[in-house]
Protein backbone atom coordinates (compact mmCIF):
# COMPACT_ATOMS: atom_id res chain seq x y z
CA UNK A 1 0.00 0.00 0.00
CA UNK A 2 2.69 2.48 0.97
CA UNK A 3 4.67 1.49 -2.15
CA UNK A 4 1.63 2.40 -4.27
CA UNK A 5 1.24 5.65 -2.35
CA UNK A 6 4.90 6.45 -2.87
CA UNK A 7 4.62 5.95 -6.64
CA UNK A 8 1.48 8.07 -6.74
CA UNK A 9 3.20 10.78 -4.71
CA UNK A 10 6.21 10.76 -7.06
CA UNK A 11 3.89 11.05 -10.07
CA UNK A 12 1.90 13.83 -8.38
CA UNK A 13 5.12 15.71 -7.61
CA UNK A 14 5.77 15.76 -11.39
CA UNK A 15 2.41 17.41 -11.94
CA UNK A 16 0.30 14.30 -12.57
CA UNK A 17 -3.13 15.42 -11.33
CA UNK A 18 -4.67 11.98 -11.89
CA UNK A 19 -2.18 10.49 -9.44
CA UNK A 20 -2.95 13.27 -6.97
CA UNK A 21 -6.70 12.65 -7.37
CA UNK A 22 -6.11 8.97 -6.55
CA UNK A 23 -4.21 9.95 -3.38
CA UNK A 24 -7.04 12.28 -2.38
CA UNK A 25 -9.61 9.55 -2.96
CA UNK A 26 -7.63 6.99 -0.96
CA UNK A 27 -6.80 9.23 2.01
CA UNK A 28 -9.58 11.83 2.21
CA UNK A 29 -11.30 9.96 5.06
CA UNK A 30 -8.08 9.92 7.14
CA UNK A 31 -7.65 13.68 6.76
CA UNK A 32 -11.30 14.48 7.45
CA UNK A 33 -11.50 12.09 10.42
CA UNK A 34 -8.45 13.60 12.15
CA UNK A 35 -9.63 17.16 11.45
CA UNK A 36 -13.05 16.26 12.83
CA UNK A 37 -11.55 14.89 16.07
CA UNK A 38 -9.14 17.77 16.60
CA UNK A 39 -11.28 20.69 15.47
CA UNK A 40 -14.89 19.53 15.65
CA UNK A 41 -17.52 19.40 12.91
CA UNK A 42 -17.67 23.14 12.23
CA UNK A 43 -14.07 23.47 11.04
CA UNK A 44 -13.28 19.97 9.75
CA UNK A 45 -14.35 20.58 6.16
CA UNK A 46 -12.40 23.81 5.67
CA UNK A 47 -9.37 22.28 7.39
CA UNK A 48 -9.49 19.20 5.13
CA UNK A 49 -9.58 21.39 2.02
CA UNK A 50 -6.63 23.39 3.33
CA UNK A 51 -4.71 20.16 4.02
CA UNK A 52 -5.07 19.00 0.39
CA UNK A 53 -4.03 22.42 -0.93
CA UNK A 54 -0.90 22.15 1.22
CA UNK A 55 -0.27 18.57 0.11
CA UNK A 56 -0.41 19.53 -3.57
CA UNK A 57 1.81 22.56 -2.95
CA UNK A 58 4.41 20.56 -0.98
CA UNK A 59 4.28 17.14 -2.61
CA UNK A 60 7.69 17.78 -4.21
CA UNK A 61 9.12 17.83 -0.69
CA UNK A 62 7.88 14.30 0.04
CA UNK A 63 11.05 12.26 -0.18
CA UNK A 64 9.60 8.90 0.77
CA UNK A 65 11.74 8.61 3.92
CA UNK A 66 8.59 7.98 5.96
CA UNK A 67 5.28 6.44 4.94
CA UNK A 68 3.01 8.71 2.92
CA UNK A 69 0.35 8.36 5.64
CA UNK A 70 2.80 9.63 8.30
CA UNK A 71 3.63 12.64 6.11
CA UNK A 72 -0.09 13.22 5.56
CA UNK A 73 -0.84 12.95 9.30
CA UNK A 74 1.85 15.57 9.91
CA UNK A 75 0.37 18.05 7.41
CA UNK A 76 -3.13 17.39 8.75
CA UNK A 77 -2.19 17.91 12.40
CA UNK A 78 -0.09 21.00 11.61
CA UNK A 79 -2.96 22.51 9.62
CA UNK A 80 -5.41 21.82 12.45
CA UNK A 81 -3.07 23.26 15.06
CA UNK A 82 -2.45 26.40 13.01
CA UNK A 83 -6.21 26.91 12.59
CA UNK A 84 -6.70 26.46 16.34
CA UNK A 85 -3.89 28.94 17.13
CA UNK A 86 -5.74 31.67 15.22
CA UNK A 87 -8.73 31.26 17.50
CA UNK A 88 -9.06 32.09 21.14
CA UNK A 89 -7.82 29.27 23.31
CA UNK A 90 -10.47 27.40 25.21
CA UNK A 91 -9.71 26.92 28.86
CA UNK A 92 -8.57 23.57 30.06
CA UNK A 93 -10.67 22.34 32.94
CA UNK A 94 -9.23 22.72 36.42
CA UNK A 95 -8.75 19.61 38.48
CA UNK A 96 -11.21 19.96 41.37
CA UNK A 97 -10.98 18.49 44.84
CA UNK A 98 -12.81 15.34 43.88
CA UNK A 99 -11.29 12.55 41.82
CA UNK A 100 -12.91 12.72 38.35
CA UNK A 101 -15.36 9.95 37.77
CA UNK A 102 -17.60 8.81 34.91
CA UNK A 103 -20.90 7.22 35.77
CA UNK A 104 -21.58 3.75 34.48
CA UNK A 105 -23.49 3.83 31.19
CA UNK A 106 -27.18 2.94 31.39
CA UNK A 107 -26.60 -0.38 29.62
CA UNK A 108 -23.92 -1.29 32.15
CA UNK A 109 -20.35 -2.24 31.36
CA UNK A 110 -21.44 -5.57 29.93
CA UNK A 111 -21.83 -3.96 26.53
CA UNK A 112 -19.34 -1.09 26.58
CA UNK A 113 -19.33 -0.68 22.82
CA UNK A 114 -23.07 -0.13 22.64
CA UNK A 115 -22.86 2.31 25.52
CA UNK A 116 -19.95 4.13 23.90
CA UNK A 117 -21.89 4.61 20.69
CA UNK A 118 -24.70 6.36 22.51
CA UNK A 119 -25.27 9.64 20.65
CA UNK A 120 -25.27 11.68 23.82
CA UNK A 121 -21.95 10.21 24.97
CA UNK A 122 -20.47 10.81 21.52
CA UNK A 123 -21.40 14.47 21.76
CA UNK A 124 -19.94 14.64 25.28
CA UNK A 125 -16.67 13.16 24.08
CA UNK A 126 -16.39 15.53 21.14
CA UNK A 127 -17.18 18.47 23.38
CA UNK A 128 -14.78 17.36 26.13
CA UNK A 129 -12.01 16.93 23.54
CA UNK A 130 -12.31 20.61 22.70
CA UNK A 131 -11.34 21.44 26.29
CA UNK A 132 -8.02 19.66 26.04
CA UNK A 133 -5.03 21.78 24.99
CA UNK A 134 -4.58 21.53 21.20
CA UNK A 135 -1.19 19.71 21.18
CA UNK A 136 -2.31 17.28 23.88
CA UNK A 137 -5.58 16.71 22.02
CA UNK A 138 -3.73 15.97 18.78
CA UNK A 139 -1.49 13.46 20.59
CA UNK A 140 -4.50 11.88 22.33
CA UNK A 141 -6.42 11.53 19.05
CA UNK A 142 -3.42 9.98 17.29
CA UNK A 143 -2.86 7.51 20.11
CA UNK A 144 -6.32 6.44 21.24
CA UNK A 145 -8.45 7.09 18.17
CA UNK A 146 -6.00 6.52 15.32
CA UNK A 147 -3.99 3.83 17.11
CA UNK A 148 -0.52 5.20 16.28
CA UNK A 149 2.54 4.11 18.26
CA UNK A 150 4.46 6.65 20.33
CA UNK A 151 7.32 6.73 17.82
CA UNK A 152 4.84 7.45 15.01
CA UNK A 153 3.20 10.19 17.08
CA UNK A 154 6.61 11.69 17.80
CA UNK A 155 7.38 11.69 14.06
CA UNK A 156 4.04 13.27 13.16
CA UNK A 157 4.30 15.96 15.84
CA UNK A 158 8.04 16.40 15.30
CA UNK A 159 8.86 16.05 19.01
CA UNK A 160 10.94 13.53 21.00
CA UNK A 161 9.25 10.24 21.97
CA UNK A 162 9.15 11.27 25.66
CA UNK A 163 7.29 14.48 24.81
CA UNK A 164 4.77 12.57 22.72
CA UNK A 165 4.18 10.21 25.62
CA UNK A 166 3.81 13.13 28.05
CA UNK A 167 1.33 14.92 25.79
CA UNK A 168 -0.82 11.79 25.43
CA UNK A 169 -0.76 11.26 29.20
CA UNK A 170 -1.68 14.88 29.94
CA UNK A 171 -4.36 14.86 27.25
CA UNK A 172 -5.87 11.67 28.65
CA UNK A 173 -6.08 13.17 32.14
CA UNK A 174 -7.46 16.52 30.94
CA UNK A 175 -10.02 14.70 28.80
CA UNK A 176 -11.24 12.66 31.76
CA UNK A 177 -11.54 15.78 33.91
CA UNK A 178 -13.58 17.56 31.21
CA UNK A 179 -15.70 14.50 30.54
CA UNK A 180 -16.35 13.89 34.25
CA UNK A 181 -17.44 17.50 34.66
CA UNK A 182 -19.93 17.19 31.81
CA UNK A 183 -21.07 13.85 33.14
CA UNK A 184 -21.56 15.35 36.61
CA UNK A 185 -23.59 18.26 35.22
CA UNK A 186 -25.69 15.83 33.26
CA UNK A 187 -26.33 13.73 36.37
CA UNK A 188 -27.34 16.85 38.34
CA UNK A 189 -29.77 17.88 35.56
CA UNK A 190 -31.28 14.42 35.59
CA UNK A 191 -31.61 14.45 39.39
CA UNK A 192 -33.18 17.91 39.26
CA UNK A 193 -35.76 16.66 36.81
Amino acid sequence: MSYVDRNLAVAASRGDVEAFAKLVGDHSSLVYRVALRILGADDAQDASQEVWVRVWRNIRNFRGESAFSTWLYRITVNTCLSIRQKESRRDERELGDDVPYLSEPSGGDADPEAAALNAERREEIQDALQHVRAEHRAALVLRHMEGLSYSEIAEVLDVPDGTAKGWVSRGRAAMLVALAEKNGLHRKEEAGG
Binding site: Y32, Y101, E113
Partner: protein, 122 residues
Amino acid sequence: MTTPPVAGVERWEVLEKIGAYAASELEGEEARKAEQLIFDRPDYRRLAESYARMLVMLSTLGSEEVEAPEVVIGYAVRRAYVSAFLRQAETFLGALGRSYLDALVYYFGLRPVRGESYGGGT
Protein backbone atom coordinates in the same frame (compact mmCIF):
# COMPACT_ATOMS: atom_id res chain seq x y z
CA MET B 1 -11.43 5.10 56.74
CA THR B 2 -10.68 8.60 55.41
CA THR B 3 -8.16 9.08 52.60
CA PRO B 4 -5.49 11.75 52.93
CA PRO B 5 -5.77 14.83 50.67
CA VAL B 6 -3.19 15.09 47.88
CA ALA B 7 -1.63 18.37 46.64
CA GLY B 8 -2.33 19.79 43.15
CA VAL B 9 0.75 18.74 41.15
CA GLU B 10 0.84 15.38 42.86
CA ARG B 11 -2.85 14.88 42.06
CA TRP B 12 -2.15 15.36 38.35
CA GLU B 13 0.73 12.89 38.63
CA VAL B 14 -1.52 10.29 40.24
CA LEU B 15 -4.23 11.02 37.69
CA GLU B 16 -1.79 10.50 34.81
CA LYS B 17 -0.23 7.42 36.39
CA ILE B 18 -3.59 5.70 36.78
CA GLY B 19 -4.44 6.75 33.22
CA ALA B 20 -1.25 5.11 31.95
CA TYR B 21 -2.10 1.98 33.97
CA ALA B 22 -5.63 1.88 32.51
CA ALA B 23 -4.11 2.18 29.03
CA SER B 24 -1.79 -0.79 29.80
CA GLU B 25 1.28 1.37 29.35
CA LEU B 26 2.97 0.66 32.68
CA GLU B 27 5.27 -2.25 33.32
CA GLY B 28 7.13 -3.79 36.26
CA GLU B 29 7.51 -1.72 39.40
CA GLU B 30 5.48 1.21 38.02
CA ALA B 31 2.54 -1.06 37.25
CA ARG B 32 2.74 -2.61 40.72
CA LYS B 33 2.73 0.85 42.38
CA ALA B 34 -0.31 1.88 40.36
CA GLU B 35 -2.07 -1.35 41.29
CA GLN B 36 -1.32 -0.69 44.95
CA LEU B 37 -2.82 2.80 44.71
CA ILE B 38 -5.95 1.41 43.08
CA PHE B 39 -6.18 -1.38 45.66
CA ASP B 40 -5.73 1.01 48.61
CA ARG B 41 -8.22 3.68 47.65
CA PRO B 42 -11.77 3.14 46.35
CA ASP B 43 -11.79 6.58 44.67
CA TYR B 44 -8.70 5.62 42.64
CA ARG B 45 -10.38 2.35 41.75
CA ARG B 46 -13.32 4.32 40.41
CA LEU B 47 -10.87 6.57 38.59
CA ALA B 48 -9.24 3.58 36.87
CA GLU B 49 -12.68 2.29 35.86
CA SER B 50 -13.59 5.71 34.49
CA TYR B 51 -10.38 5.80 32.45
CA ALA B 52 -11.13 2.35 31.08
CA ARG B 53 -14.63 3.49 30.06
CA MET B 54 -13.26 6.61 28.42
CA LEU B 55 -10.61 4.67 26.49
CA VAL B 56 -13.22 2.22 25.19
CA MET B 57 -15.35 5.14 24.05
CA LEU B 58 -12.42 6.85 22.32
CA SER B 59 -11.35 3.65 20.62
CA THR B 60 -14.90 2.85 19.49
CA LEU B 61 -15.40 6.34 18.16
CA GLY B 62 -12.00 6.20 16.47
CA SER B 63 -12.82 2.96 14.69
CA GLU B 64 -16.05 4.30 13.20
CA GLU B 65 -15.99 4.89 9.45
CA VAL B 66 -15.92 8.57 8.59
CA GLU B 67 -16.31 9.59 4.98
CA ALA B 68 -15.04 12.96 3.82
CA PRO B 69 -17.75 15.05 2.16
CA GLU B 70 -17.62 14.88 -1.65
CA VAL B 71 -17.15 18.63 -1.75
CA VAL B 72 -13.73 18.25 -0.07
CA ILE B 73 -12.51 15.74 -2.65
CA GLY B 74 -13.94 17.75 -5.55
CA TYR B 75 -12.40 20.97 -4.30
CA ALA B 76 -8.94 19.43 -3.81
CA VAL B 77 -8.86 17.86 -7.28
CA ARG B 78 -10.22 20.99 -9.00
CA ARG B 79 -7.59 23.14 -7.29
CA ALA B 80 -4.87 20.75 -8.42
CA TYR B 81 -6.10 20.85 -12.03
CA VAL B 82 -6.20 24.66 -12.05
CA SER B 83 -2.78 24.84 -10.44
CA ALA B 84 -1.29 22.32 -12.93
CA PHE B 85 -2.86 24.26 -15.84
CA LEU B 86 -1.41 27.53 -14.57
CA ARG B 87 2.01 25.93 -14.15
CA GLN B 88 1.92 24.64 -17.74
CA ALA B 89 0.61 27.97 -19.05
CA GLU B 90 3.43 29.76 -17.22
CA THR B 91 6.01 27.41 -18.73
CA PHE B 92 4.47 27.75 -22.20
CA LEU B 93 4.20 31.54 -22.08
CA GLY B 94 7.70 31.83 -20.70
CA ALA B 95 9.09 29.73 -23.55
CA LEU B 96 7.02 31.68 -26.10
CA GLY B 97 8.27 35.00 -24.76
CA ARG B 98 11.86 33.85 -24.88
CA SER B 99 11.40 32.67 -28.48
CA TYR B 100 9.96 36.06 -29.50
CA LEU B 101 12.81 37.85 -27.78
CA ASP B 102 15.37 35.65 -29.56
CA ALA B 103 13.63 36.34 -32.88
CA LEU B 104 13.70 40.12 -32.29
CA VAL B 105 17.35 40.02 -31.27
CA TYR B 106 18.12 38.07 -34.45
CA TYR B 107 15.95 40.34 -36.64
CA PHE B 108 17.52 43.58 -35.47
CA GLY B 109 21.00 42.11 -35.44
CA LEU B 110 21.44 42.84 -31.76
CA ARG B 111 23.29 39.65 -31.01
CA PRO B 112 26.92 40.46 -30.28
CA VAL B 113 29.34 38.94 -32.76
CA ARG B 114 32.23 37.05 -31.25
CA GLY B 115 35.07 39.40 -30.49
CA GLU B 116 32.96 42.51 -31.10
CA SER B 117 33.16 45.15 -28.45
CA TYR B 118 30.21 47.32 -27.39
CA GLY B 119 32.45 50.25 -26.67
CA GLY B 120 34.37 51.38 -23.73
CA GLY B 121 37.46 49.54 -24.88
CA THR B 122 40.12 50.62 -27.30
